[in-house]
């Protein structure tokens, strides 16, 4: 460093209001930093990330000829970018900056001020020791492929796809079910406005199908993802539906023609309350309007011995193809929006509520289908015993707010149950409806009013978590009915109430294959298994992988308005990247010194991105910076120390180690 100018460090410690200053003596930190080697300026300031804070840095760079900047404030994951920009605006290479995490890693997690301050000394000492080793680096720019992949065709995926397509972006929408629509397509009405779900959803579904910018792949799954932001290579698998999608016109003539004269197989779309045939369309408005054949039950596919009356009915169109196999498509996109939704809680997991054991215990989704006029009972509420119930009890938080199953609140079950209760009351005003709840959660626009309406309609609310649903009768009126045993915590005693029908408001869970999807798209999951957003407040639809966004209930339970808002946000985030045309990538890549390398090849197999190649002419290894993602594994493993990593050079880390450990 002989020829380099003398190191002059500007050091700034942020109070973050009181977030840092309440625990750490920021002035003492600034004083301490002032006497460390190479520190030319040392200041404390209320909010370093504010404009005046950033300007302070820029001014000091000029006035004090600073050439290194250290800011001790919050997590670099939050504001490193902010301060690098400020450093650059001040006329320095942005990588002459280093950040100390005094908030998340110190003031917020400790409770002894003097110890926290002592720790802060060590933290900043490390940064000040590190930063003289920093080098000027150039940001890497990667072009962004303008196409987008949207995974999941529920309301989130549909909305995201349409938003992007309407902005002129090419979108691939991949849905694994035979139709798009997701959970919302199963709903009858939506709370709190009680407008019909189908009326608002189906137009959007057909827009997706007809949009020139959208390629809709239903009954398909993403099986492989390679590459990085702006340049993802994706393989999509199309499952055989035994019906040629391009030839089928949705006339549905094959269905009545099927050799099974009556529907006899459980109909998934109607929560198995209804029946369908081996050749079927999930529901009348299914998109695409294409039938499919269930190979598990189709006589021809199972035995090969069938008259194939469906083929006959299809006639010249010849859409039915029993020889269909899985096919694959390879596509290139720049961004991915994951909107894979949720799974409902399996009520069998709480046996004391009797789901599966007692025929008249239903889930809220089953009742949703039942109350839908196009559903299996054409809108009538009937028990599995065929009787219309006089009393219906809703049990809330089934598989929610319960550490034995799912500890989170599923957010919509209170409102959803009230909606069903109101609909039941509307259908049959004399029905007694009880709602057993722990807390009524009715946030959001119109929700509290909806709660009030439920109360005024005479729906009885009992605050108490139901202990059990039993057929153990102790009074004559309980005989033959479902008895709910529960403490009425408001009244202060235990009650037994008999019902004709019990509805379990089942919670929302991550999809069963959420972990596989997470790995596929290089995302993280929270402890509960929903995909983890980059920041709960400031980056709610981003993930830790650039160019992969999340929307809807795959990120956590939410209602339709929030889902749509997120989907729009994810689409907008993707558009930012597309319209920028390129993305700047941290230059934390690794480099091999050709002079130093002995060509021992130890590093070659370590690179997950095959960025390291052995050059036959020089007999040395070399790294392709465009492929390198900067993990540094090869750097740590190079036995002769001939690989370096920008931003994480050995010298920088050794200085940090020495810095955090130097004795006061």
């Amino acid at each position: 460093m002989k020829d380099e100018p003398e190191i002059r460090i500007g050091f700034y410690v942020c109070h973050c209001g009181t977030n840092i200053a309440a625990m750490i003596d920021c002035q003492a930190v600034a004083r301490y930093a002032a006497q460390l080697p190479f520190v030319a300026v040392s200041r404390d300031y209320k909010y370093m990330c504010s404009d005046p804070g950033q300007e302070l840095i820029q001014r000091d760079i000029k006035e004090h000829a600073l050439n290194r900047i250290v800011v001790a404030s919050c997590s670099p994951l939050l504001h490193e970018h902010t301060f690098r920009n400020a450093t650059e605006k001040g006329g320095l290479n942005p990588y002459f900056f280093h950040m100390v995490n005094l908030r998340e890693h110190n003031s917020w997690v400790h409770s002894d001020g003097s110890k926290a301050t002592a720790k802060a000394f060590a933290q900043i000492r490390a940064a000040i020791a590190r930063v003289p080793h920093h080098k000027a680096l150039e940001v890497l720019q990667v072009p962004i492929h303008p196409d987008v992949l949207v995974v999941g065709g529920g309301i989130a995926g549909i909305h995201a796809a349409l938003t992007l397509a309407n902005a002129g972006k090419k979108v691939y929408l991949v849905e694994r079910e035979p139709t798009i629509g997701g959970h919302m397509a199963k709903f009858d009405k939506t709370f709190p406005t009680l407008d019909c779900a189908a009326c608002i959803l189906t137009p959007k579904m057909s827009q997706v199908k007809s949009h020139p910018k959208i390629t809709l792949w239903s009954f398909s799954e993403v099986v492989k993802l390679d590459g990085y932001v702006g340049n993802y290579q994706i393989t999509v698998k199309h499952k055989p539906r035994y019906v040629n999608e391009d030839l089928c016109v949705g006339c549905l003539e094959c269905i009545p023609a099927c050799v099974f004269k009556t529907p006899k197989f459980p109909d998934e779309f109607n929560q198995n309350l209804g029946k369908r045939k081996p050749v079927y369309i999930p529901f009348p408005q299914a998109t695409p309007q294409v039938v499919l054949i269930d190979p598990e039950v189709c006589l021809n596919l199972k035995t090969g011995k069938c008259k194939q009356t469906c083929v006959e009915a299809c006639g010249d169109r010849q859409a039915i193809d029993f020889d269909q196999r899985e096919t694959f498509d390879d596509i290139k996109v720049g961004n991915v929006i994951v909107a894979t939704g949720f799974k409902t809680f399996d009520a069998h997991r709480i046996p004391q509520y009797g789901y599966g054991a007692f025929p008249n215990v239903f889930t809220s989704l089953e009742v949703e289908r039942m109350i839908n006029t196009s559903g299996p009972t054409s809108g009538a509420i009937v028990g599995r015993d065929g009787k219309h119930p006089d009393t219906v009890g809703f049990i809330l938080c089934v598989g929610s707010r319960d550490e034995k199953t799912n500890k989170w609140c599923s957010r919509t079950c209170c409102m959803h149950s009230m909606k069903l209760a109101q609909l039941i009351k509307e259908h049959c005003p004399r029905t007694e409806v009880y709602i057993f709840y722990m807390d009524i959660r009715a946030p959001g626009k119109g929700a509290e009013e909806f709660y009030d309406k439920s109360l005024r309609m005479g729906i009885r609310f009992i605050r108490g978590r139901v202990a059990e649903v039993t057929d153990w009768a102790v009074t004559p009126e309980e005989e033959g009915r479902l008895v709910v045993r529960c403490e009425d915590t408001m009244a202060g005693f235990v009650r037994r109430i008999p019902f004709d029908m019990i509805v379990l408001a089942i919670g929302k869970e991550p999809q069963a294959d959420a972990q596989d999807v997470r790995r596929l798209f290089n995302m993280s999951c929270g402890t509960e298994g929903f995909f983890l957003e980059r920041h709960p407040k400031l980056a709610p639809v981003s993930t830790f992988t650039d160019g992969i966004f999340i929307a809807g209930a795959c990120q956590g339970p939410k209602d339709i308005p929030d889902t749509v808002a997120q989907a729009g946000a994810a689409a907008a985030e993707a558009m930012v990247l597309i319209d920028q045309g390129h993305i700047e990538i941290e230059p934390n890549t690794a480099h091999i010194s050709e002079v130093d390398c002995s060509g021992c090849k130890s590093c070659l197999p370590l690179c997950p991105y095959t960025a390291i190649a052995f050059i036959e002419t020089t007999k040395k290894a070399s790294i392709n910076a465009a492929l390198c993602k900067g993990c540094g594994t090869c750097v740590a493993a190079c036995p002769s120390g001939s690989i370096t990593q920008n931003l994480f050079e050995d010298d920088e880390i050794f200085s940090e180690i020495a810095g955090v450990l130097a004795y006061e």
Binding site: K404, D439, G464, V466, E468, R485, E487, T489, V494
Partner: protein, 210 residues
């Protein structure tokens, strides 16, 4: 007939720190998470005999109403069936909390004289410590003698039947390693206050009124 008496509780009725103290006992720390859902009361097989439901005991404990909690009938009714503990959505070990409350009630003498539950507990522990094993027939006899020997008379038919079917033991079971056992207990003995109530006859309860 249940007599309802409405009382306004003042801050002086609380024993600040009581709830926190209970929560420090092993297994009891999760009481802090209680959301008063009432599952414990709903699953409790004997809640109908209780003055406070288990849920209310949790609330009172957390709110430091020591006196009300330790005088309540609820804690003595617990049958240790662990239904509440298993069912609690917050995984609060309610049975263990009730144990903790019982121990505190015994130590503070907060229970009626000749009250059978703590007497049985004491006779049990004495017998287990001295003999290494429990001889149920003798244990029950001793309990009746110390609480309500008239009740013992009421049980004579059952006793006779047990004798005739060979289920009544006349001599105590004793293990060989009694000295070993005593040595083990001695190693961790801390002077426990004498918890047998020794108040004057007729006095309902004995305890330190806060």
């Amino acid at each position: 007939m249940i007599e309802y008496t409405r009382v306004i509780k003042h801050e002086t009725d609380r024993v600040p720190g009581f709830g926190a103290e209970v929560m420090r006992a092993p297994g009891c720390e999760k009481l802090a998470s209680c959301i008063q859902c009432g599952t414990c009361s709903g699953v409790c097989p004997v809640s109908i005999y209780m003055d406070f439901t288990p849920r209310q005991i949790m609330a009172l404990t957390r709110a430091d109403f020591k006196d009300d909690v330790l005088r309540s009938r609820t804690i003595w009714l617990c049958v240790s069936c662990y239904a509440c503990t298993t069912e609690c959505p917050r995984k609060i070990r309610i049975t263990d909390i009730i144990y903790e409350l019982k121990q505190r009630a015994i130590q503070s003498g907060y229970y009626p004289e000749h009250f059978a539950v703590p007497v049985l507990a004491r006779e049990f522990t004495d017998m287990a410590r001295a003999n290494g094993r429990i001889t149920e027939s003798l244990l029950v006899m001793r309990m009746y003698l110390k609480t309500n020997w008239l009740a013992a008379l009421g049980m004579w038919r059952l006793g006779l039947k047990l004798m005739s079917t060979g289920r009544f033991s006349y001599t105590p079971e004793k293990i060989e390693g009694r000295a070993e056992l005593e040595k083990m207990f001695a190693a961790i003995d801390t002077p426990i206050p004498d918890y047998s109530p020794s108040g004057a006859p007729g006095e309902e309860t004995k305890g330190t009124q806060p």
